[in-house]
Amino acid sequence: MAKQSKKHKAKTKNSARQKNTNLNNTPNGFKVFLLHIISIVALFIFANLPMNQKWLKGRIQKYLSNIPKQLNQLDFETRKKKKWGYDYAIMKFIKKKMTLSDTLLVPPSPYLVEKTFHKTKSQHFWVKPRVFYYHSNGIFNVDIENADSTLQKATHAIYVNNKKNNIRLIKIKNPVIRKKLLNTFNQYEIRTFWSKREAYKYYKKHNQ
């Protein structure tokens, strides 16, 4: 094996040497100039191929033009709000009102979409339990899929004010409130909306 390696090494060296005899000549100045022109033209043509042009104009140009604006908005809160939108704003509000020992009862997504879509227009409805936990810095949450014994731990709940259709946080002071909330939430199916379009479709269907 060692012999084989040496052979290969020698072969590589020889071919490199042959190559270098050519390279020892200084590149022709005019041809270097031509290679400048060829490089520019090649890149221009490549960038203007239909699919590349679409991507460069649609995405890259947009990304590039957003940078100056983003440089003026460097604080972390703005960046989080920008990307996570309404979901994050609600989460922040809830976090302020609750402590780590509290547990939140979150309604099924269809409940929130049906009642608040026209206001929130949220891309991804944030009530997915693990997403909530990601944003909540340690506040646990339960939903109607949990066992009754777990649901009893809920100290707060999210519900929608029927008159103004605003999302509210309510403190569950007694079992009657908990039961009432659970009765309402149980009328809805458990499902996830993966896109704004999906949520809008559901909203339209249930608000005609």
């Binding site: 094996m1 290969h8 290679l35 340690g138 949450n141």
Partner: protein, 455 residues
């Protein structure tokens, strides 16, 4: 403060990566050495986090730095840091920067900067990451242990799903960069992306004319779906790059039979398995290729190499999927139950899956633009027109990956073409550009340009 934490932490990791490279007798250009040391250092850092957790120390910045420094010292014990050796790079006339390369370098730089900025500026958005790798990382940093409330309390409330138990590389990198003080972590992906571009460009310039090298890198960069994943934190992009580098060094090993290339291949393939679990199923084919390439089954050294090639990646799978997930974190892993042995209408299912893999993923131009079809046509021209199989090791690995994904689709329940295969297909693209760089067509074209330029 976070920048100082990052500089100190990354310097230690980089020097560790460099120490690993110094132990190998391969010669690299300065750009290659920087990029390989950077990637290997970051990879090593992830194992250091596991080490800290395994000896029940708190996962915080201080312990990470102490451990990293200890590892750095250990790596330099037998072979102390040699300034001359560390700065001994291979540099020949053909590697010198040519003025007309500026257009390629500038284009690459602009695309890289946009990606780096978006990676730095925005928090983590993909759902899979917010309920998976970054959820685990965020709470690991807050509670100073990987065995945080995500694994101890959250499962009592909700089904965890498979996202938190993905192969851990991306999650561990998130931990490291959160420890460095970056609130969103993330920048590790930018670094790996940068190092890969540096390595590929530098290496391509050695084997083909710089204009062709620049063109290939740009062809790889403007693939829309791949580019988007350079700033979205998922496991797939880094997995594709590691696999690409692993196969590249495997090819170099195949060509030259140098042990250094073998070990570099093992290291990058191991990192690929540490990043996406499914990768382990491709690796035994590498062992078979090693047995085939030496044309002997009697030599114990050949067997040793073949076994070692699969053993190291396998150890990472055992470390995470069995020791960590099952025995330590007691996470719910159900992969075995998802395997099916349904052979009904097998031929029809095979053909329809192959058709769908092309129609719904590989030929979807919105994903890859010219990034798949272009190299495919060029490869065809090379094979038919130049009647050459040079560099076909890359294509062989691409075929192995394709074939194994077909097997996954047929026999694992949750594997889908739209998600699993689409993201797994990222692995084809580094392989395709490496193949083109080493193809006879590009080599011939390159020779012609070089000769013409110097006449």
């Amino acid at each position: 403060m976070s920048i100082l934490k990052f500089i100190l932490g990354f310097t230690v990791l980089f020097l560790s990566g460099n120490a690993i490279l110094n132990r190998l007798k391969a010669s690299f250009s300065i750009l290659e050495k920087i990029s390989l040391a950077g990637i290997l250092g970051l990879g090593l850092g992830t194992f250091e986090i596991i080490l800290i957790e395994s000896i029940s120390l708190p996962v915080n910045y201080i312990y990470f730095i102490i451990t990293s420094m200890a590892v750095l010292v250990l790596l330099n014990i037998q072979k102390p840091f040699n300034f001359h050796h560390a700065l001994n790079f291979s540099a020949s006339k053909e590697e010198r920067f040519r003025s007309y390369e500026i257009y390629y370098v500038l284009s690459i730089f602009v695309l890289f900067i946009i990606s780096a900025w978006r990676c730095y500026y925005f928090p983590i958005t993909p759902y899979d990451s917010r309920v998976g790798i970054d959820l685990v990382a965020k709470y690991a940093v807050a509670e100073e242990t990987i065995k945080s409330s995500v694994f101890t309390i959250l499962p009592k409330y909700h089904f965890l799903g498979n996202q938190p138990i993905y192969a851990p590389f991306a999650m561990l990198m998130q931990i490291i960069f959160r420890l460095f003080g970056f609130p969103f972590g993330k920048l590790w992906l930018t670094l790996i992306f940068l190092f890969f571009l540096m390595f590929a460009y530098s290496r391509f310039r050695k084997v083909i004319h710089p204009t062709l090298a620049g063109f290939l890198i740009i062809l790889f960069l403007v693939i829309p779906e791949l580019y988007a994943y350079t700033f979205l934190i998922q496991t797939d992009y880094s997995n594709a790059l590691f696999m690409g580098l692993g196969v590249f060094f495997f090819y170099e090993f195949y060509k030259h039979r140098f042990n250094s290339y073998f070990w570099l291949s093992v290291m990058f393939i191991t990192l690929a398995c540490w990043t996406r679990t499914e990768t382990i199923f491709f690796i035994p084919f590498g062992s078979l290729i090693i047995l085939w390439m030496y044309q002997t089954l009697k030599d114990i050294i050949v067997w040793k190499k073949a076994v070692l090639f699969s053993l190291f990646p396998l150890l990472t799978i055992i470390l995470w999927n069995i020791i960590y997930l099952k025995l330590y974190l007691h996470a719910d892993t159900e992969t075995v139950n998802k395997i099916t042995f349904d052979f009904s209408n097998y031929f029809e299912r095979v053909t329809s899956n192959i058709a769908n893999m092309f129609d719904r993923v590989l030929f979807v131009h919105n994903y890859w633009s010219y990034g798949f079809i272009g190299p495919l046509i060029l490869s065809g021209i090379n094979i038919i027109g130049y009647k050459s199989l040079k560099g076909s090791m890359f294509l062989l690995w691409a075929l192995i990956i394709f074939f194994m994904f077909l097997v996954f689709l047929l026999h694992i329940k949750d594997v889908t073409i739209a998600n699993t295969f689409r993201r797994g297909a990222f692995k084809f693209f580094p392989l395709l550009i490496f193949y083109l760089a080493y193809s006879r067509m590009f080599q011939k074209l390159s020779e012609k340009i070089t000769n013409w330029e110097h006449q």
